[in-house]
């Protein structure tokens, strides 16, 4: 008999006032009892709408049935058939616009907490020592993966499971890509990312850090001299955008990438860290996506007294996940909607002292269907601030494109691929933000998966 409660089983989380000042994880996860209770809300529908909403097609009702039974290991096996990073996805996937959006229980009440259950199953697995994955028998064929973010790790994991000898090349000193430099500790603890990476290493994946492909080695060298039969490019969208307004190069103006990299990757928030970060009192974060929320909430935790999210459209249009917006508000981030910065003003030492802003109104829908923000004449005002964080998006990094002949990209930098992730160069595949521009972890994983399948086919056909 299913649990007919219209509400999701609540997940314990840190009190907003307390958590706004620490970097510990906000949501604390289900206990086994809570997980089984929530799992029993699943109706196990025949047409399984949730599965079609999942970019990597996890057999959701099947794993949930195992959770309800209390066989968490069986549940883990089902998830890991489709996903290489369940502990990550259970935390950062936008389930509300994917699997949970299509859940039948969501028609009247809350959908089943699929993300929470996925997280529980993965954490339960990772908490058991000695649950090592077995290294598959090698087929002797080498594949290179560039970038160790979600798409690269997924592609590497899928290929390793098929017996390929996979080497992942990472430019930074630590594997994980955006999972380690971008998403903050309080949303995705780095020990969890490391566990997922360790799981891949157990599958036989080699990880080479400090390797800036395009500089130290080119794709041609990887294929011609190092014997890689195929290459997957998952180099992400690392290039931060700025607004090109006056004052943007003042001290105290950061790209969200820089602010988050200092905080997450370099642990600048820790007392004894060697990497500095500004301990600002009044922070303006420009932008309305998940990255903006991450930056704003990190700024609070570093000790800011006031943090504003400044967005040129209205709250309706905020691209961030509802849950992130909700968490940010609970923690005290102020939302300044329909506002745009036009100039950043500095003091005599060129440190930020204020932002000149203007109010916006929404006009006719633009080409993308969203209502276009237009300036309200005479609405300019000054806002005191000592730090401004630009979180208005990123573009694909041009480093690989500029050193790989025959690799075609869109005008804005995205690598051109077909539906299977094939680029314009034979044997070279791509996926994730390097192709789509900044998107989500799970979409990148989906593309890594598609490409892994295509790489397998490509190499097997070549072998004939």
């Amino acid at each position: 008999m299913p649990n007919m409660s219209p509400k999701k089983t609540p997940m314990p989380s840190q009190d907003p006032k307390v958590r706004a000042r620490n970097f510990l994880e906000v949501s604390q996860g289900y206990t086994a009892e809570m997980a089984r209770e929530e799992a029993s809300r699943c109706l196990n529908c025949k047409h399984r709408p949730c599965v079609s909403g999942c970019p990597v097609h996890i057999r959701i009702p099947d794993f949930i049935a195992q959770v309800a039974k209390g066989d968490f290991d069986a549940a883990y096996d089902i998830i890991s058939d489709a996903s290489n990073l369940p502990a990550v996805c259970g935390r950062v996937c936008p389930q509300e616009s994917q699997c949970e959006k299509l859940c039948v229980r969501g028609i009247k009440g809350d959908p089943v907490g699929i993300g929470r259950l996925e997280r529980f199953v993965a954490d339960h697995h990772n908490a058991q020592p000695g649950k090592k994955l077995k290294k598959p028998v090698s087929n002797g064929r080498k594949v290179a993966v560039i970038g160790s973010g979600p798409s690269g790790l997924t592609c590497a994991g899928d290929l390793a499971k098929k017996g390929y000898e996979v080497t992942v090349f990472e430019a930074l000193h630590l594997a994980g890509g955006v999972l380690v430099y971008g998403i903050p500790e309080f949303r995705l603890p780095k020990t969890i990312v490391q566990k997922e990476v360790d799981n891949l290493i157990a599958l036989g994946v080699k990880i080479e850090t400090n390797m800036v492909i395009g500089k130290v080695l080119s794709i041609d060298e990887l294929m011609d001299e190092y014997g890689f039969e195929a290459v997957f490019i998952g180099s992400g969208a690392g290039l931060p955008r700025f607004m090109n307004i006056p004052g943007e190069n003042l001290c105290g103006v950061y790209s969200a990438n820089e602010f988050l990299t200092r905080t997450n990757l370099m642990k600048a928030y820790k007392h004894n860290a060697l990497t500095p970060i500004m301990h600002a009192k009044k922070v303006v974060v420009v932008g309305g996506g998940n990255v903006a929320m991450d930056a704003a909430r990190s700024a609070l935790r570093i000790g800011a007294e006031k943090v504003y999210i400044m967005y040129r459209r209205s709250e309706e249009e905020l691209p961030a996940r509802r849950e992130e917006v909700h968490h940010a508000k609970e923690e005290g981030v102020e939302f300044m909607m329909l506002t745009n910065p036009v100039e950043i003003l500095g003091n005599e030492d060129d440190f930020v002292k204020a932002v000149r802003c203007e109010k916006m109104a929404l006009g006719e829908p633009d080409a993308g269907g969203r209502r276009r923000p237009i300036e309200v004449p005479g609405s300019e005002f000054l806002l005191d601030a000592d730090c401004v964080i630009m979180a208005i998006g990123t573009s694909p990094n041009p480093l690989i494109k500029s050193t790989t002949e025959g690799l075609e990209t869109q005008k804005w930098g995205g690598i051109i691929v077909d539906e299977n992730g094939r680029t314009t160069r034979e044997g070279v595949f791509a996926g994730g933000d390097a192709v789509t521009g900044a998107a989500t972890v799970i979409l990148a994983m989906g593309e890594g998966k598609t490409a892994a399948k295509a790489i397998d086919e490509y190499i097997r056909n070549k072998a004939k």
Binding site: H173, V212, L239, F242, N249, C251, A273, P276, D349, N397
Partner: protein
Amino acid sequence: MYKITEKRPLTRNITLMRIEAPLVAKKAQPGQFVILRATKDGERIPLTISGTDTDRGTVCIIFQIVGATTRQLNTLEEGDCLADFAGPLGKPTELDGLKKVCVVGGGVGCAIAMPIAQKLHDMGCEVHSIVGFRNKDFLILEDEFKACSDKYIIMTDDGSYGEKGVVTAPLKALIESGERYDMVIAIGPLLMMKFVVETTRPFEIPTTVSMNPIMIDGTGMCGGCRLTVGGETKFACVDGPDFDGFKVDFDEAMKRTAMYRKFERHAYEAACNLLNKEVE
């Protein structure tokens, strides 16, 4: 791992290290840099490559002990390993077709200027080198410069070695005496580069400067190293580190470099207390 195969003090506070990094050694060109971390949990810092030995697979770095991280780096000895060493990053200095060049180096910037002078010399270019130091104790790479320069002038602030004065004095004198340089390449403190540019501007001699701003990733990801060049924002790590000196906004660059000065001072003092070793 990135083993230190040689460590040698060049002055009291400047150290030369050779690091085992064969792939970087194979690709590195004059003007490029590496990002390193001395230890796990250390800071990522950019250091310019001042030479390579492809046979031994080593990369030479020369650094001045100015902050907590360079101090930490200096505690490592031959046989120890650096935690991380990524490169070669940035674009190589463009030297094609040059026939006569004046290379101007200031302080530890000479560590970058020297391999450029060397490469120019190997290309058959006439090389005039002007180097400046605070005093005799700070002098580095004298023999190396002599070996690759057709003219070599040393300046010190206090006159304790070479001539007394700033590098722009002999530069101006050489230009006015009729030396026709295809290019002047200046590498050193921002203030020095700014004045070199002001010296060459009236004579319209193309002047390249090598910028060394605050950096984290070195691959264009964070934008922390941005500077204004010809009114446009550029990232030193991927667009540079070399830029047309006439177009660089040095005043802005100097202010951006000072962004963490307070923190750095504090971290440096903490490191000094921790290591309890006299430097400078």
